[in-house]
Amino acid sequence: MASEYASSGEYIKHHLQNLTYGQLPAGYERHDHNGQVEVLQQATWTVAHNAAEAKDMGFWAINLDSMIFSVGLGVLFLFFFSLAARRATAGIPAGLQNFVEWVVEFIDDAVRGSFTYKNPLVAPLALTIFLWVFLMNFMDLIPVDWLPYAASLAGVPYFKVVPSTDPNVTFGLSLSIFFLVLFYSVKMKGPGGFFAELAFQPFPKWLFPVNLLLEGVGLIAKPISLALRLFGNMYAGEMIFILIALMFGGGWLMAVFGGALQWAWAVFHILIITLQAFIFMTLTIVYLDMAHSEHH
């Protein structure tokens, strides 16, 4: 399938481009594959046909593929878990309930281990994060060409199947968590207490500008590192899958070698996707715990 593209670079770029839906302004020049130029008479809501168009759509555009897969996977997870929850009995568990209870107890243990306060939000939050991120990462294990190729047969130009390789997704999660951290920091310590925590330590009070800078950077670094760690790991993993997929176009020897490599990388990736989901969850719990605790 890589051979259908003009160059390896094209192939890689194609696989890293989201299906973006947004508004192009009036007078915008659209270039299609054949080099023909179409000038838009008025502002148009449409699907971007290349990376430049997606970029020109600005902020008020949406990545359809990221949204479809993330919402779909989240609904899948909640469907099965709420099904198990509705049928949950205190008797002997079977099948789905067994699995769900195993996951829930694992999350509950993790939360009890890292979070020392009483907050009914944290454990369900951790469960949602862990399973949702895990499922989004899991899409990485589907061979990179299958879904985009199927989509292209249906006339969809781009189809990026791993939502967690879209920084919008990871930042969407981490910023929500960041606002939760801010909310609980203010709620537990009061605005003054929260400010004091940022301004009056680690150095003496008269050095508060330095303190504010240090603590402020530390605070801002939390959501950014959280989002970038997940994004970076999944993006890099996806990139390697794409590079391996390029080998399938290089003769049967390369294809066999590529197949072996892909298998090996997929096996290794099972560890990475689980680990990244777990890290994301654990750091969320830890950040929320820090938001609750007063440290002087």
């Binding site: 990221s66 709420s82 929850a85 920084p167 969407g172």
Partner: protein
């Protein structure tokens, strides 16, 4: 790789998912787990109680058995005593009966002997009379000497 409204869409989706999870997924499952934990604890406590009761029952059964054994031994001892008594009584009765029968036999023997002696005496008297009759037939009238003979018979 542009930042766009997907960011906001993701955040809204995320908040909705967390809310849903917090409302409909987590509590029922935790509830079931807690209930089961309690049931298991209750079951274990009941098992402990049952074990304790079993011990008590075993102890009681042992006590009962011991009592029954003691009672049985008592009964046996009494029965043996009674048996000995019965044997003694029977022996005494048998001895008495034997003596009684011996005495009866003796009496019967004496009676028989007396009767025989009587009969003998009569026969001897008859013989003597017959003899005397034979002797006296010739010289004496039997009737005249009958009184004499009767007197003689009484003396024998």
């Amino acid at each position: 790789m542009n930042f766009n409204a997907t960011l906001i869409g993701q955040s809204i989706t995320f908040i909705f998912f967390v809310w849903f999870c917090m409302k409909f997924v987590w509590p029922p499952i935790m509830n079931a787990l807690e209930t089961r934990k309690k049931q298991i604890a209750d079951g274990l406590a009941a098992a402990d109680r049952g074990k304790h009761e079993l011990e008590l029952a075993a102890k009681k059964a042992g006590d009962n058995l011991r009592d029954a054994k003691a009672q049985a031994a008592d009964v046996i001892a009494q029965a043996e005593k009674r048996a000995a008594q019965i044997v003694d009584e029977a022996k005494a009765a048998a001895k008495q009966e034997g003596e009684r029968q011996l005495a009866a036999a003796q009496a019967s023997i004496d009676q028989e002997a007396n009767r025989a002696r009587e009969a003998l005496r009569e026969q001897v008297a008859a013989l003597a009379v017959a003899g005397a009759e034979k002797i006296l037939r010739r010289e004496v009238n039997a009737q005249t000497h009958a009184d004499l003979l009767a007197q003689l018979k009484a003396e024998l």
